[in-house]
Symmetry: C2
Subunit: 332 residues, 2 copies
DNA sequence: CTGAAAGCGCTTACAG
DNA sequence: CTGAAAGCGCTTACAG
């Protein structure tokens, strides 16, 4: 179809090696020759064949980003930021949706590797540490939002325990006594860590940790939040605040409270995690943990790019800064 | 790094042509040979080098999807569906964010072409028809959500005029008299078409089309909706309903109405367009136009794939089915 | 039914 | 400062 290196060389009256030198900014080209070549490139509208270049280099310039769902606002903004960070380094991101389920995530660990992909940025939901340890594929992989995974893998995450503790403390400080947690059913991963922070805060304040107040579901969506909130209200436990382990569940909880005619935060205070845009526009606006997503994205791309060029570099553990954003749902 | 075709051939004791035949399901391989080869592939954990294959075929198997923003819920679900539809055909989707601005969209028209990408699915916001007509790049391109673009390009869109007319009619039927439109400032593209449908409905019902009731901004986001609603309330025009040209603006408008203490739909009814998930959980839930996104995605991939294999096929114009979902924001 | 050759478009040592 | 050769891993005609 288009012009090839050789066509440019013919047009400019030089060897194609010289054209290659110009394109790749190598030295040993006189200014005059360079100009002739650039002119020929422009005239022929030449574009290097990336496929051929990849084959030669043994690298594709592609990164895979594996996330549960693109339609989850948090992961959409993560994907957007990672795409931008990759672009700055001349890399392209392929998005792989896992549904946050074990089968989809297994594909990421074992099946995504190919000459097509230089490295993987993986945000696991349902993958036990043992699966990661058992991985045999050579494609470099960086883990997002998780700790406790095998050594040798780079990690990037918010300190989930500390963040959850801070939000729970905030709820306690507003005078709430019966603080529930939605999303605490996980035995490992992010859910477990946030559950740990929640418990630490309660214990530090001398509150009892009541298992009846820890509910939820594996899925971190609106429906789960709405149902869990309803279950809490229907149980005899008695609740005056709820910390949802993500904003989507918090928005679901708000909907249930609205349907029941309960006032937020007077009757029940609500806090979330992620700081998605919807929470800034909900009624009431949502108190939440706000991680520094651009930082996270930049570091993820930096780490995976580094591991592509230095496969044996020591694994890094990067902590993502966060703030607790207090809004109407806890501070009427 | 990994095993090559030749390594598999050596292991199986056949020529690499035979291995190639097995991999590509070509005939002329005895069952016995085939088994030997498959065994060797498994033992060596061989995976074909996609880059080499692409170079040979002159096709990459990559589609670019150019959308304004991944963080917009509508485009996130569109991207998700298009990724799934592409996967079914063995294709991979690269997402390009344009910001919905002219410069970003110019890159899609002129700069995205390369051997890297077989075809482009483009959802334009700010690109005039003239720019599309002036395009010289050869990479196949399918246009989403738009009409009125030059012949020769495949289009896939909801009938925006009809959809907008139907929503406006619905507002009229609930007894509203002063129906505003937010997002109607566009002179071309989707905004213009929805504006046309809005006007047709008003005229058919004998209502006056009042320019003071047509407001908005180029950006179709929550902030625009919130501000436009505030401006309408502050003006002396008098409003009892508002049709927002997308759901995000409608959610922004709902926020303003809540802040002003106005009842929806009793004081002011609100309708949107897109049927994003947020609108099913907002307070009140949002009446909206719901396009069949999976159908849209499937057709987009089908059309671009067809154009890749048959560049001179006649351009198609596909209409996407839609329904008007009546919810609390118009039917208290 | 299987083998040897050519070539996709590029870059990387190596000569000159 | 520039040229000719080899090769990245694959597939596609072409022989045998």
């Amino acid at each position: 179809m288009g012009a090839r290196l050789k066509d440019v060389a013919d047009r400019a009256g030089v060897s194609f090696k010289t054209v290659s030198n110009v394109i790749n900014n190598h030295p040993n080209v006189t200014e005059k020759t360079r100009e002739k070549v650039l002119e020929a490139i422009a005239e022929l509208r030449y574009r290097p064949n990336m496929t051929a270049r990849s084959l030669r280099h043994g690298r594709s310039g592609f990164l895979a980003l594996a996330v549960p769902e693109l339609t989850s606002p948090y992961f959409a903004s993560l994907a957007s930021e990672i795409g931008a960070a990759a672009k700055r380094r001349g890399l392209v991101v392929l998005i792989e949706e896992t549904s946050g389920e074990h089968e989809g995530e297994r594909v990421v660990l074992e099946g995504l590797s190919s000459t097509l992909i230089d490295g993987i940025i993986f945000s696991p939901m349902a993958t036990p540490a043992a699966d990661v340890a058992a991985r045999t594929e050579p494609t470099p992989m960086v883990l997002l939002g998780e700790r406790g995974y095998p050594a040798g893998y780079d990690h990037i995450a918010v300190d989930n325990v500390r963040a959850a503790r801070q939000v729970t403390q905030h709820l306690i400080e507003t005078g709430k006594k019966r603080i529930a947690a939605i999303g605490a059913e996980h035995e490992s991963g992010t859910g477990a860590l946030r559950g740990q922070g929640y418990r630490q805060a309660l214990e530090a304040a001398g509150h009892r940790v009541d298992p009846a107040l820890m509910v939820g579901d594996v899925n971190y969506d609106r429906t789960t939040g709405a149902r869990a909130m309803a279950a809490l209200l229907d149980a005899p436990a008695g609740v005056d605040a709820v910390f949802c382990f993500n904003d989507l569940m918090a928005l679901g909880a708000l909907r249930t409270l609205r349907e029941r005619g309960l006032r937020v935060p007077q009757d029940i205070a609500v806090a979330g995690f992620d700081d998605i845009e919807d929470g800034r526009y909900s009624a009431p606006t949502l108190t939440t943990v706000s991680p520094d997503v651009p930082f996270l994205a930049e570091e993820a791309v930096r780490l995976v790019a580094r591991r592509v060029s230095e496969p044996d570099a020591a694994a890094e553990d990067v902590e993502v800064p966060f703030t607790v954003e207090v809004r109407e749902s806890t501070a009427g």
